[in-house]
Symmetry: C2
Subunit: 195 residues, 2 copies
C-alpha cells in the first residue's frame, strides 16, 4: 500500500485503508436483516492445455440471491516447473493455495483495521509451504500428499501500538475463509462425465 493511497483514503473518514467502512457496515446490517443474502457459490472453470499446464477462468458466481459475474473474466495458468517435468507456464497449484491464504488474511486485516479505525501504512506477508513430494510421487506411504506445514510471516505497520496490530491480524485469522479451509478441511465431491 502506497503513501498516496493512504492520503487519498484520509480524505473521507468513512474511507480507511481503501475500505469504504460505511458500505461495509451497511452490508453487515443488510445481511443481519436477510441472512439468506450471505449464501454464495464461487466457481472456477478449468481446461487441460498440455501436460501439467492447464488454465482456469473465473467469472460467474452466485450471491445475494442471484447469479452474478465479475466485471471481467479472470484467467490463470498453472503448470509445473521444469524440475517437476513441466513447462513453467504458471505457478504450481500448491503455490496458488499460498496466494489464496495470504490474500484472504490481508483483505480481512484491511477490513478489520478500517472498522476499528486503525490506518495501516504497510502490510506485507510471505507464506511458505513445506512439502515432501515423496507423497504425491507414491514413493513413501508415510508421507502425505499435501503441505506438511504452512507459515505466514506478516510485516504490519500502522497508527496503532504493536499489540493492537497483532490483535487485528488475530481477528483476521479468526474470520478468514481460506484459513478455515486450509486448517480445518472441507468435504470435496468429484464427479466424472465421460460421455
Amino acid at each position: 500500500m502506497t503513501t498516496t493511497d493512504m492520503t487519498a483514503a484520509g480524505v473521507d473518514d468513512s474511507m480507511r485503508n481503501g475500505v469504504d467502512t460505511a458500505a461495509l457496515f451497511a452490508t453487515l446490517d443488510a445481511v443481519k436483516q436477510a441472512p439468506e443474502a450471505a449464501k454464495f457459490q464461487f466457481r472456477a472453470h478449468n481446461q487441460l492445455v498440455s501436460g501439467t499446464h492447464n488454465r482456469t477462468t473465473i467469472t460467474d458466481f452466485f450471491g445475494v440471491g442471484e447469479e452474478r459475474a465479475h466485471e471481467r473474466t479472470f484467467t490463470f495458468d498453472a503448470d509445473h516447473p521444469a524440475v517437476l517435468v513441466g513447462q513453467d507456464q504458471g505457478p504450481t497449484p500448491v503455490e496458488f493455495v499460498l496466494h489464496a491464504l495470504a490474500a484472504c488474511l490481508t483483505a480481512g486485516l484491511a477490513n478489520i483495521a478500517a472498522a476499528r479505525k486503525v490506518r495501516l501504512t504497510e502490510v506485507r506477508s510471505t507464506v511458505t509451504g513445506d512439502i515432501d513430494l515423496n507423497g504425491i510421487l507414491g514413493l513413501d506411504p508415510e508421507v502425505r500428499n499435501g503441505y506438511q506445514r504452512i507459515t505466514v510471516r506478516f510485516v504490519v505497520k500502522g497508527d496503532a501500538p504493536a499489540e493492537k496490530l497483532r490483535e487485528l491480524v488475530e481477528q483476521s485469522r479468526a474470520r478468514s475463509a481460506v484459513y478455515d479451509v486450509i486448517t480445518n478441511g472441507v468435504p470435496v465431491t468429484i464427479e466424472v462425465d465421460t460421455r
Copy 2:
C-alpha cells in the same frame, strides 16, 4: 487441449498428453535414489494494495536440494467484488482455492494418463464452492468461515473406456497435493512483525 496438441504429442511415443513420460519416469527413479531431493518449499509474497485488493508475487522456491526460481515472476491480484465491498480488481481469495484444486487434479490426471498410455482428448472441469458469509461476517456462530462443501465436475474424454478414465481421475485424487490440503487440513503458523 486441442486436437493439434494431441497429434503433435503422438509424434514421439515418450510424449503423451503433452507429458514427457521418459522424463517423468527418470524423475521418479532419481527421487527413489535420493529421497531428500523431494523436499520442496513453495512461497508466495503478498502486499496490501488498498482495501480488499492485494497482490501476490510467486517466483522463488526450494527443491532438489537448492534455491530455485520460476522462469518468470508470476503476479496475481485478489479483491472482492462490489457486492462484497471491493473493487473487483481480481478474484476473491476463496476462488483461487477452487482454481488450485482444479489445476492440481487436472495436472495429475494428465501425468497419470500419460504414464498409463491413455491419450486424453478433452479434460474440462468446473469446481464450485458453497459458502455462507454469515460465518466470516461474524453474524452466526454456527456457520463456519470457509466453504461448506466443494464439488468438482469433470468432463474427461480419451482413447480408453469410461471405467478406465474414471480410474485415472480417482488415482489423480488419491495423489493430489491440493485435494489433500483441502480435505485433510494443514497446520498454519502466523507470525507478525510490527517493527
